[in-house]
């Protein structure tokens, strides 16, 4: 059988999106670099003050960090370093930022993807049930329930989870310091933050609203009625436009949101992730770390969008035909 995937337009589309993503990431780097330069006082001020008061040594440090050159040169060298994976050294620990980011970034990605799955597992069934309009009161009840879940303050939810699982069931040591090694041993410690963030990240309600609207629209399309008239499953026919596309859209749109929620949850659970690192960096004004995190997060966001584009291109033949995102 001849398959109808049109590789060429899809490739063209994905490449275009990829270049736009690169362009946006470059702009993000410029933005961050200018914030760095705009920041009140000398960005190295604190660092230098701690180390030394000697003007000669200050000049030496400045030279070491390349702060005596022009801004354009500074940016280019900074960007060059970025591309080579050199995000600078943390002011606090003195270690290279990049290595630390990779270490904690994996943890945060696990947390983010895991909670995204939990969120979708809650949201999709409710959206599907309420879009059917079969049992109005059940669907209203479920929607209300989902709204309550998504308005729960995530930190308080974390407290409750910790309280129940540590104090009542003694399932894992309370706020263990060696969490990084801890969660490999105890899977509940591993799952708990994922579930808490999945429930409390506040995006359930919006995912339901979006999915319900899309699914209702698709289910009232003529082609669904026609499919029903020919005795085919309406779910088979509405799956692509009614479920797959909205879910993909929502995943791509909610990645930044969940990354943000991770900052709080990691704080609550002492989860050794990027959010906690960002929190620490913000407290310590650890510029290289926070900039590294920003760029890392932007890359993750754009990866999400790129995968959305790819899914769209494959799902919607019209998209790939026209060579543009619908």
């Amino acid at each position: 059988m001849k398959y109808t995937i049109l590789w060429k337009p899809i490739l063209k589309l994905v490449l275009r999106e990829f270049f736009i993503a690169i362009l946006l990431l470059l702009s993000v780097s410029i933005l961050i670099f200018s914030i760095l330069k705009l920041a009140p006082g000398d960005p190295l001020h604190i660092f230098i003050n701690i180390q030394t008061q000697n003007p000669e040594e200050i000049a030496a440090i400045k030279r070491e960090f390349g702060l005596d050159r022009s801004i354009a040169v500074q940016y280019l060298s900074w960007l060059n370093n970025l591309i080579h994976g050199n995000f600078g050294n943390s002011f606090r620990t003195g270690r290279p930022v990049f290595g630390e980011l990779i270490k904690v970034g994996v943890n945060t990605l696990i947390l983010t993807i895991g909670s995204m799955i939990v969120t979708l597992l809650i949201a999709i069934p409710i959206a599907v049930i309420s879009s059917l309009r079969r049992c109005p009161f059940l669907s209203w009840g479920l929607t209300l329930f989902a709204y309550i879940l998504s308005s729960l303050p995530v930190f308080w939810l974390g407290y409750i989870a910790i309280y129940i699982f540590t104090k009542k069931f003694n399932l894992f040591p309370f706020l263990s310091a060696g969490a990084a090694s801890g969660f490999r041993i105890n899977w509940i410690y591993f799952l708990l933050p994922i579930i808490v963030l999945g429930i409390g990240n506040g995006s359930i309600s919006e995912i339901i609203r979006h999915m319900r609207a899309q699914l209702e629209r698709v289910l009232s399309e003529d082609y669904i009625k026609a499919a029903k008239a020919k005795g085919a499953s309406i779910w088979r026919h509405s799956f692509k436009e009614g479920i797959l596309i909205p879910v993909t859209t929502m995943i791509a749109a909610k990645i930044p949101f969940i990354l943000g929620g991770a900052v709080v949850v990691e704080q609550v659970f002492n989860w050794p992730g990027m959010g906690r690192l960002a929190w620490q960096a913000a407290l310590d004004r650890d510029y290289p770390v926070i900039m590294g995190i920003t760029i890392f997060a932007a890359v993750v966001v754009h990866l999400g969008r790129l995968s959305q584009t790819i899914v769209f291109a494959f799902v919607n033949p019209q998209t790939s035909e026209k060579g543009e995102a619908a």
Partner: protein, 297 residues
């Protein structure tokens, strides 16, 4: 489907004649009612706090009345320093109310402008505006805020300014898609053919008649998000600092007591957060169902 046998013209006139409360579903009315109650609560607590009409000074430490359970003198009890929790919750609404309004106004104003311009004009203008909005959207909100905190140690107003800016893309894309939808239905050409001024078409016919719902809904949802962000930041220790009360830092302050089994200190402000966010969500959802009624049924 039901529209098929009601004539087009009849349909339009029919809907404009029916008063809004009669087309409403009972569920929507309950949702809106609850939402309005929350809005009223937030508004009145803000006014109470501004006018200093509180029964107790939220900052006054009274070690004699530490950790009291709720009774008739302290309706929600007192915290570990003997401060009245109710007063602190009421004053806590001050932490986000005005800054939140600022952020919503910024998001709506610039979002509407960007959406209208890029949707109406299209072409190069659209590309440039979309690019800028994509740029804002590239970085998670929380990370931008933490970045700003690290660099500038800003106050809550500055943070909410950033929140407002990061909300612009959402509003803009909604307005833009609406404008494009209207454009596809030859709405704008029809207006031009009738000799309407461009200004009238954009502001009266597009914005007022067709985007009202979006704007109202985004405003309510924006408030919910503002509460979420402010409480998160206060919880993390970046927003309002102790001893000034904010719902977020009250939850954080009650943490140690929470794990000792004294839930109330954290739970009372957490409940305030839950109820207010829920209220704004339900208000938004109810209004959405009510105002977009014609499209739905």
């Amino acid at each position: 489907m039901r529209t098929r046998y009601i004539q087009r013209g009849a349909e339009v006139s029919e809907f404009s004649q029916i008063p809004i409360w009669r087309r409403a579903n009972k569920k929507d009315l309950i949702q809106i009612g609850f939402g309005l109650f929350v809005v009223f609560f937030v508004l009145s607590s803000y006014i109470t706090a501004v006018l200093h009409l509180l029964p107790y000074d939220p900052l006054k430490i009274n070690l004699k009345e530490m950790m009291q359970s709720p009774d008739y003198r302290h309706i929600l009890g007192t915290d570990f320093m003997g401060r009245d929790i109710l007063s602190r919750i009421i004053v806590g609404s001050q932490a986000y109310f005005m800054p939140g309004l600022l952020s919503i106004i910024i998001a709506l104003f610039f979002g509407i402008m960007a959406g209208l311009v890029s949707g109406y004009n299209g072409g190069m203008t659209d590309s440039i505006i979309s690019y800028i909005l994509d740029l804002i959207d590239s970085i998670p909100k929380m990370v931008i805020i933490l970045l700003a905190i690290a660099f500038f140690r800003p106050g809550i107003y500055f943070i909410m300014l950033i929140v407002g800016i990061t909300n612009i893309p959402t509003v803009a894309s909604l307005i833009k898609s609406k404008v494009i939808f209207l454009k596809k239905r030859n709405f704008i050409e029809a207006g031009k053919a009738l000799g309407l001024k461009t200004r009238d078409i954009i502001f009266k016919h597009i914005l007022w008649y067709n985007c009202k719902a979006i704007v109202i809904i985004q405003a309510t949802l924006g408030m919910a998000e503002v509460i979420l962000i402010e409480t998160s930041l206060s919880y993390l220790g970046f927003g309002v600092q102790e001893p000034e009360p904010s719902w977020g830092n009250m939850v954080a302050a009650g943490k140690d007591y929470f794990f000792m089994g004294d839930f109330f200190l954290s739970t009372a402000p957490a409940a305030a957060i839950l109820i207010s966010i829920l209220g704004f969500y339900l208000l938004g959802d109810g209004l959405n169902n009510l105002l977009e009624w014609r499209r739905k049924r």
